[in-house]
Symmetry: none
Subunit: 227 residues, 2 copies
């Protein structure tokens, strides 16, 4: 059974959608706000997320980013905003689709089927929520790094960088990609950023920062996390 996480604060709309979804044999969890949504997403591991952007407690784009930090679950955004700027922001933050209210229920269901179909075709194992090594462990949901039983304090930039690396274990990530993702620039002239922050991360996580075991440099190309 396909499990849907419905994130929506309007009880009336929730009721209507739940009825429709259950009639099509989807399993539905509902969350009225962002905090609940993130908690449920981690606990229930839905196959697809329906996300209303107009939530009381959090900005919608932040929810998308938070989810994308550890999961690649398809995200369909529902919103009353028709402005293209909103759409672009949500899609670039990692959403898969954007439907403006009011929408046809048939269309929504078709878009939902399309999103689910894609993940069936390419059965990517759902990303781990906890990355563990012999020396430290990274909790992607709680956004915490733990080393020798102690919490390691990471700044937002450090975390963003680390997140990209550990969610693609073994993969080489090019400097261009990292700069684009974390700083929004793709100029090769600012590789100092990378050098400084990689040094920070190694100092905080590696047992021997000058001979890193996990955060590996590939000269001239980029960096890689070895698990």
């Amino acid at each position: 059974m396909t499990r849907v996480l419905l994130v929506e604060d309007d009880p009336q709309l929730v009721r209507a959608l739940v009825i429709n979804l259950q009639a099509r044999h989807y399993g539905v969890d509902a969350a009225p706000d962002g905090a609940t949504a993130l908690r449920l997403a981690a606990a229930r591991r839905p196959d697809v997320v329906l996300l209303d952007l107009g939530l009381p407690d959090m900005d919608g784009v932040d929810i998308i980013k938070a989810l994308r930090g550890w999961s690649r679950v398809p995200i369909l955004v529902l919103s009353a905003r028709q402005a293209s700027g909103e759409k672009v922001a949500a899609l670039d933050a990692g959403a898969d689709d954007y439907v403006t209210k009011p929408f046809s229920i048939d269309e929504l269901l078709a878009r939902l089927r399309a999103a689910v179909r894609r993940t069936e075709d390419a059965p990517h194992a759902p990303g781990p929520l906890l990355v563990e090594t012999a020396d430290f462990s990274i909790d992607l949901i709680a956004k915490k790094a733990i080393r020798d039983g102690q919490d390691v304090r990471l700044t937002p930039t450090e975390w963003h960088l680390l997140e990209i690396l550990v969610t693609h274990p073994g993969r080489l990530i090019t400097q261009k990609h990292l700069l684009q993702e974390v700083w929004g620039v793709s100029q090769r002239s600012k590789t100092n950023y990378l050098r400084v922050y990689m040094a920070q991360l190694r100092r905080k996580l590696e047992t021997d920062p000058s001979h890193p075991r996990y955060l590996i440099t590939e000269p001239g190309m980029g960096y890689r996390f070895e698990g």
Copy 2:
């Protein structure tokens, strides 16, 4: 470079989109009708398809079905029809997204980025992503070479050269082509580059570098990778 196949019969819209796409460094092929579209899709293997449903020669849904018969390339549908029935039919036939005209160009580009991003994360075999031999194996997406269970460290130039050879197994690659691709020069006077770097690669990958089994020299012509 990301290659887009644009299927659209309105020359004015084609022109506008081509300009916008090329400005963002996409490679664009254009097809004015369904038959051309299918031929180009097979010949050029685009990374994403922009498909107008209102073509002169074929029904749009049939084009989607024909494509889906052999390819999972993301398909973004453009259409003037707002009726949800059309959308449902297109999406259920295998389309990934459906944008109604008139659309904001920014939104279209954002949806296109979203579609491309998905395939990057889960690369569904545009070729073999893992090249294996009896002595070593090459992981093309992680950019890693492994020999006897050990990681082999390759420099950017070495990797670039190796990548070209192993992605065309058995094929002879001319010196001119290799020089052009890796060093941007096609002068035959600099074949020393090739000699030096081929020697490096053999030393790192072959069990008997002076009698290579995989990285074969074709005297006077070029090199070939034997799988």
